[in-house]
């Protein structure tokens, strides 16, 4: 409850973690607000069906609020004039404002429990934050947005926030590195998917570092770091200790 989880990937694609968390929280009966900036609804739907959850059904019964960034952007740029009562969540694209307030309002409104809602704690899931920088949002605006979301979702609504970011060692994208580093300091849990340092391998797709930031809550505690390797399959991801992939044993 009230936790901020950061999903981070380096040299590989960490989106399998997003799919996992999405189906996990939906199965657990939480109300989920999913800000999907990079892929379309049907992509997530098809993968979620393989994992045993139907996103369309979840949307129907009001458990899932899905913001399809690509579609929203097209509506903003190609659509008719927006109605005054319903500003587009991606308003910052048209340059009229430089902050992500509209996006935050969208999140807040979707996760505030309505009457008759029987869902468990709310969850905000974002895939992925680095896209906001590509679209022209300033790093400070992105950090402000996350801050507001944390206050609203984690503290006030006692829910969880899960965010995916990309990062690279010796990346030249300073804005992105700034955002990622800042988020790392404020996260309760970091799941860091990395490509293997030795290059591409068919049986081990990467390694995942799980960092439990105990030092955030308790002064004298050390962060707990665990490292596993993983292989992604069609419906599943298998995790195993380093060096013990099925191909080797």
């Amino acid at each position: 409850q009230g936790k901020f989880t950061l999903l981070r990937d380096t040299r590989t694609d960490g989106s399998f973690l997003v799919h996992h968390f999405l189906s996990f929280y939906l199965r657990a009966g939480c109300k989920v607000c999913f800000v999907a900036l990079l892929q379309s609804f049907s992509h997530y739907n098809i993968v979620a069906q393989k994992l045993g959850v139907s996103l369309a059904a979840a949307k129907e019964r009001g458990q899932l609020v899905f913001l399809e960034g690509l579609k929203s952007c097209l509506d903003l740029l190609f659509g008719e004039e927006e109605q005054p009562g319903q500003p587009s969540p991606l308003q910052f694209l048209s340059g009229s404002t430089s902050d992500l307030r509209a996006l935050f309002d969208f999140v807040r409104v979707s996760l505030t429990p309505a009457d008759g809602d029987s869902w468990k704690s709310p969850v905000l899931l974002v895939d992925d934050l680095s896209v906001l920088l590509s679209l022209g949002a300033a790093p400070v605006a992105v950090l402000d947005f996350i801050h507001y979301c944390r206050v609203s979702v984690c503290c006030q609504l006692k829910g969880n926030v899960v965010v995916l970011v990309h990062s690279n060692e010796d990346s030249e994208d300073e804005e992105n590195e700034l955002v990622v580093n800042s988020l790392c300091h404020h996260s309760d849990l970091i799941l860091w998917a990395e490509g293997l340092a030795t290059g591409f391998c068919k049986d081990v797709h990467g390694q995942i570092k799980i960092i439990k930031r105990l030092s955030l809550r308790q002064a004298a505690e050390q962060d707990l770091v665990q490292i596993y390797q993983y292989k992604i399959q069609d419906r599943n991801v298998t995790f195993f200790a380093r060096g013990l992939s099925a191909a080797v044993l």
Binding site: H43, V47, S134, G195
Partner: protein, 342 residues
């Protein structure tokens, strides 16, 4: 969204671009060609002629049906490869059902060219920007191109908006040399361009358009001119498939005896991971291309047999170094600075 990094002189990436368009014509897809460099009609006149044989007619029917049903399910883009990446054979010997072969020494016959609907966008002939979109905050050349694409998609019903249309078709979009100075973007000229976000915003909106319609798009970009690497990283994140072509012209590798059979290298930086947790990675990462008189092939990089006593240590190390760079994998799986070869 297939993003191609051009080689230095643009020769080979142009070829890939033309193959994409030619395949569209042969499959009966509609085409949309955009360029700021050459007039699209000129580009279309230069497409390679398809190699026909007896089974061609039947194949076209099968292929067109297969393509339509595939695209219909997902309404997503699929990256097209013309010369199949050989998984086992070194060069394609059997007639595969996917794709066609072309003879680049001949031009495509104009009747074939005329058989599909072609739309074009030549930047310097386009009318100026409509005022409604001044709130776009983007380079006006890109904005005009996006408007044009969106108009074609909705007018011709590629986004499924017209229920009357019985036969759905695919739209192939080719955009040449995006990001170059000719489009009005200075991202290729300076380290700190005036508007760092135009190109990435353009790609995001294009991605949105492609996702909701039956369209596939190839873009070539003179990536070697873009000095701001942060932009290249962002662009890679926004594309489905990223392929880089590195030609040996003018570089020291041209005379390297170990590369003598090839004209350049193909770097696959990213492959699409759509509708699935996994992506389709081929076994080999070392790909090179060569341009023969009639054919452009992409093959596994084979080192020629080391028969000579005088092959020096230096060139072997050099090749080993570049082989490491080659086999460093694609972004969707893993890229690493290699200490070991896998």
């Amino acid at each position: 969204l297939v993003f191609t990094e051009e080689d230095k002189y643009g020769l080979y990436s142009n070829l890939l671009f033309k193959y994409f368009l030619a395949e569209g014509i042969v499959c009966g897809h509609d085409l949309f060609v955009a360029s700021a460099k050459e007039h699209p009609d000129n580009i279309l006149k230069e497409l390679p002629a398809p190699l026909l044989d007896d089974t061609y007619g039947k194949e076209l029917g099968d292929e067109a049906a297969a393509v339509k049903s595939e695209d219909f399910q997902d309404s997503m883009k699929i990256a097209w490869r013309y010369q199949n990446l050989p998984k086992v054979e070194a060069s394609p010997t059997t007639h595969t059902k996917f794709g066609h072969y072309y003879d680049i020494s001949k031009k495509m016959p104009p009747e074939l060219c005329q058989s599909v609907k072609r739309h074009s966008f030549y930047l310097h002939e386009e009318s100026s920007f409509e005022p409604k979109t001044k709130t776009w905050n983007m380079n006006s050349g890109y904005a005009r191109l996006l408007q044009s694409i969106q108009r074609i998609i909705s007018q011709e019903g590629f986004d499924g908006s017209d229920p009357q249309k019985k036969q759905r078709n695919v739209l192939r979009i080719g955009i040449q040399s995006l990001g170059s100075v000719l489009w009005g973007d200075d991202v290729c000229c300076s380290d700190t361009p005036e508007d760092t976000h135009s190109l990435t915003k353009f790609l995001y909106v294009l991605r949105g358009l492609l996702r909701k319609s039956l369209a596939a798009c190839i873009i070539t970009v003179p990536a070697h001119l873009i000095q701001n690497k942060a932009i290249m990283e962002r662009v890679t994140n926004l594309s489905d498939m990223v392929v880089g072509l590195e030609s040996f012209i003018g570089s020291e590798r041209e005379t390297n005896p170990l590369y003598k059979d090839y004209h350049g290298l193909v770097h696959v930086h990213q492959i699409p991971r759509l509708n699935s947790l996994i992506c389709d990675v081929s076994d080999t990462k070392d790909l090179a291309f060569r341009l023969k008189r009639k054919l452009f092939t992409i093959e596994r990089l084979h080192l020629p047999p080391d028969l000579s006593d005088t092959v020096s240590r230096a060139s072997k190390q050099d090749l080993a170094g570049s082989a490491k760079l080659l086999s460093s994998g694609c972004g969707a799986m893993a890229i690493g600075k290699k200490h070991l070869d896998f």
